[in-house]
């Protein structure tokens, strides 16, 4: 591994740098844990099984429960992944396979530009344009005609809701997921495509085979997109409606963990247990998104090694 003494020296001279970065990331995790400790001591597991946000000047009367924001975070992110992954697959196929090169390249630039847009722009667009549009054109009719389905059973109020938040999140994460899928699609050996066509498959059947080969990679990309959506603050805080409850209905406003933190952090310093409770939420968020990213990365690497035998 080391060709010479100077290489060895080079490697060990960088230990402080690598150690420093790893140290910061470790301290970050530990910090979140220690900051949230008082709330665990005070509330125990009820912090994650109940849903309440009632700060009080008297520390004895304070009570916090984070179950609703945590479940809503998962719900909103999962919905956004369900919306973004099929669109990303279509975009990948269109760019690489269907459109000729001089038309596919501009589409790719457009998605890359959308990936670089500041999230606050998506948030503003979602809250000022998409929310009223969806409320009038989609939510009202769905509620009126299909209100007996639990998903559509609640009356849309301002438009800021689970549906708008997850849709805006999906629009914002599609460029990221698409970039991952394109990278994976180019890794598929061309023998599969050639094999499919030589057996007389139509274009669509050939794509289906290619997507089938890509499946583990798609799962990995969904996991990474999920973890991205889970941590997204600005978009969600502006579009999700910010209400402390859980609802399965698409048109209800809820709180996710990041939006709860964004809204309550400034005032949380005034109360004894509010800040630790927010840190407990951050800890849950950190754990879930680290596990999702790690699983996604492992799956991706495993697939890459298997496909190149």
């Amino acid at each position: 591994m080391f060709f010479s003494k100077s290489d060895k020296l080079l490697f060990y001279s960088t230990l402080p740098l690598i150690g420093g970065v790893l140290g910061i990331l470790l301290i970050l995790s530990l910090m979140v844990l220690t900051q949230s400790w008082p709330s665990f001591q005070r509330f125990g597991l009820t912090l994650f099984t109940t849903s309440a946000w009632s700060p009080s000047d008297d520390p004895q009367k304070e009570f916090y429960g984070l179950s609703a924001p945590i479940i809503s975070s998962l719900y909103v992110s999962a919905l956004s992944v369900l919306m973004s992954v099929p669109v990303s697959i279509c975009l990948t196929l269109t760019m690489i396979e269907i459109l000729p090169k001089h038309l596919g390249a501009p589409l790719r630039y457009v998605t890359e530009v959308m990936g670089g847009l500041p999230t606050v722009i998506y948030g503003l667009w979602g809250s000022t344009t998409l929310a009223p549009f969806l409320r009038d054109q989609v939510m009202e009719p769905l509620h009126t005609y299909l209100g007996f389905i639990p998903l559509f059973s609640c009356r849309p109020f301002t438009g800021h809701s689970i549906l708008v938040a997850s849709m805006t999140l999906a629009v914002a994460t599609i460029p990221y997921v698409t970039a991952l899928l394109i990278e994976g699609y180019y890794l598929i050996p061309s023998k599969y495509r050639e094999g499919a066509y030589s057996l007389g498959a139509t274009d669509y059947e050939a794509y289906k085979i290619m997507i089938g080969i890509l499946k583990p990679y798609i799962v990995a990309a969904s996991l990474l997109g999920f973890s991205r959506a889970l941590g997204e603050t600005t978009i969600v805080a502006l579009t999700v409606g910010n209400s402390m409850r859980f609802s399965i209905c698409f048109f209800d406003p809820v709180h996710t963990i990041p939006s709860l933190i964004a809204n309550q952090f400034e005032s949380a310093r005034l109360y004894e247990y509010a800040l630790p409770a927010l840190f407990a939420g951050a800890l849950a968020l950190l754990l879930i998104s680290l596990v999702a990213s790690y699983a996604g990365i492992r799956l991706m690497y495993g697939w890459r090694e298997r496909i190149h035998v």
């Binding site: 970065v21 910061i24 910090m31 670089g116 500041p118 999230t119 629009v171 603050t233 209400s243 809204n263």
Partner: protein, 254 residues
Amino acid sequence: MYRLPDSRRFKNRVMLLIIIAVSILYVTPLISIIYTAVEKGGTTLVEAGLSFLTDLPPTPLSSGAGGIAPALVGSLLASILAILISTPVAFLMAFYVTEFPRHSLSRVCEVVVRSFSGVPSIVVSMFVYSTVVISMGRQSLLAGSLSLSIVTLPYAYVYFTSAFRSIPESLREAAMSLGMNRAGALIHVYVGVLRGSIVTGLLMSYVRAFGDTAPLLFTMGFLMNAVFAGVLQQSNAIPLNDIRIRAITLRELP
């Protein structure tokens, strides 16, 4: 010659059309975003002219549109400072991890840093708040850029590792055969080969830092009455102005 059955031809056509339609549908949000921005912001921009970029924000008593100078300067400075911290570190880490891939430390580094590209940026903001801001006693431009640099580091790292992996093996072997050690190869060969990627990586991290809001939420502070007050003083950023005002107005809905 064998002719495909009509059902298969039909299905093929329909599915291809659906795939293309969904892809084109995805471009509509971009058009809508641009339209919304021009429609809502265009008149203000035209009325205020260039002074919109150089003036202070309006006070409650003033009548004009005011400007966004503090936010603009704060955003630019914080993101430049952030990539000055994060990209060199990310570049060197990417170099070591790709050059010594078998070392156990490299493996740990690879997994940890990649996993942290999924870390919620608001958690980073809380972390910097409770370490840097609390110990300094106030929010500052420096705290904001530290927070941004933690967020951009994994992105820059992922970008630079794939850049290093794309160096052809022949160039690497040629450098070694000339008797260079790895540091020499980095300075004389890799940097030259990668100069395009380095610039792209810098720009991408910069865009990332410039557009991100959450890391600055609790760390940058708020500055309205001056364009720039110093690195260790409070500052402002473009995305913050809006999210603060919105967070207040939208805070408690039924």
